[in-house]
Amino acid sequence: MDNLIIDGTRQTPEINFDSETGILKLEGRSIPENTFEFFTPVLNWLDEYANSAPGKTIAKINLEYFNTSSSKYILEILKKLKVLLNDGKEVLVEWYYEEDDEEMMETGEDYEDVSGLPFKIISFEEE
């Protein structure tokens, strides 16, 4: 299975999903003009990944800002990871936020509550 690599832009996040290591990175800013067009390949890739996923999957999410429709797609991504967890695979979501970005930290906590996935909320210093 191919890895999914999408370069980040000023409006879309960088995506680096590695099917062999099980490390799924999503970082940057997500305000695409057409969220459906941007996230559909991502969700399709995750459907395929579910069939051949390694024992452990770590989703590293580090988002600076995202729009409302992206928040729906992030929820969809987490739902797909929940399917993996329900299949007996180990899944961990690492949610990164800049240390003074209270809003992004609380958003991570909300996703943790609603998804039922194990989360690790990690702060990092602003560069």
Partner: protein, 188 residues
């Protein structure tokens, strides 16, 4: 178009229920199952709406905070710009003032030399009886030094400001040209 929706799953679920209702041959059991499915989907949808609204509001707050910070930075930047412009103006004024003083000093020295070498003998011949005429002439020259300096200062300052404004206008026209070129490039 219908397939290009972020709520496609939800729309599909609703369509399924609508199609079920169009049937008239369903049993009590089927109706119960369909209703259960509809309630589950509805519950999930409410959960999604709750979380998405909450997150959206929070990120709006973050955006507002960033905008406020940006506005503050702009105000600070405008203040600093004003201070810088004032300092530049003061420096220009001081520079021009020094230049004007030097010019007026040289003119005064020139006038003094002219009056001593050329006018003094003529005045001495013409007003032999009155020694004050030469002195008054020198006094007039001396009195005129200060207003002369002020006049030269004002004239040079006016000229410098005109040049500065012209330079700024040219800069603005250049920037406008560059931005319209960029826009054209984007359209192409």
């Amino acid at each position: 178009m219908a397939k290009q929706s972020i709520y496609q799953n939800e729309v599909d679920n609703l369509d399924q229920s609508k199609n079920f209702l169009k049937r008239d041959d369903y049993s009590q059991m089927e109706l119960q199952l369909e209703f259960k499915k509809l309630v589950e989907n509805y519950e999930e949808l409410i959960d999604q709406v709750k979380i998405i609204t909450k997150i959206s509001d929070r990120l709006q707050k973050k955006l507002n905070k960033t905008n406020d910070a940006l506005e503050n930075s702009n105000v600070q930047l405008a203040d600093l710009n004003n201070q810088l412009n004032n300092t530049i103006d003061q420096l220009t004024e001081a520079k021009i003032g020094r230049k004007a003083s030097t010019i007026v000093l040289f003119i005064a020295i020139g006038l003094f030399v002219v009056s001593e070498v050329l006018l003094e003998p003529i005045i001495d011949d013409a007003f032999k009886d009155n020694a004050y005429v030469g002195l008054i002439l020198k006094l007039v020259v001396a009195i005129l030094i200060k207003p002369g300096e002020d006049f030269a200062n004002k004239y040079m300052l006016k000229k410098a400001r005109k040049a500065q404004m012209k330079e700024q206008e040219e800069k603005m026209i250049k920037e406008k040209d560059q931005s319209s070129k960029k826009k054209r490039r984007k359209i192409i």
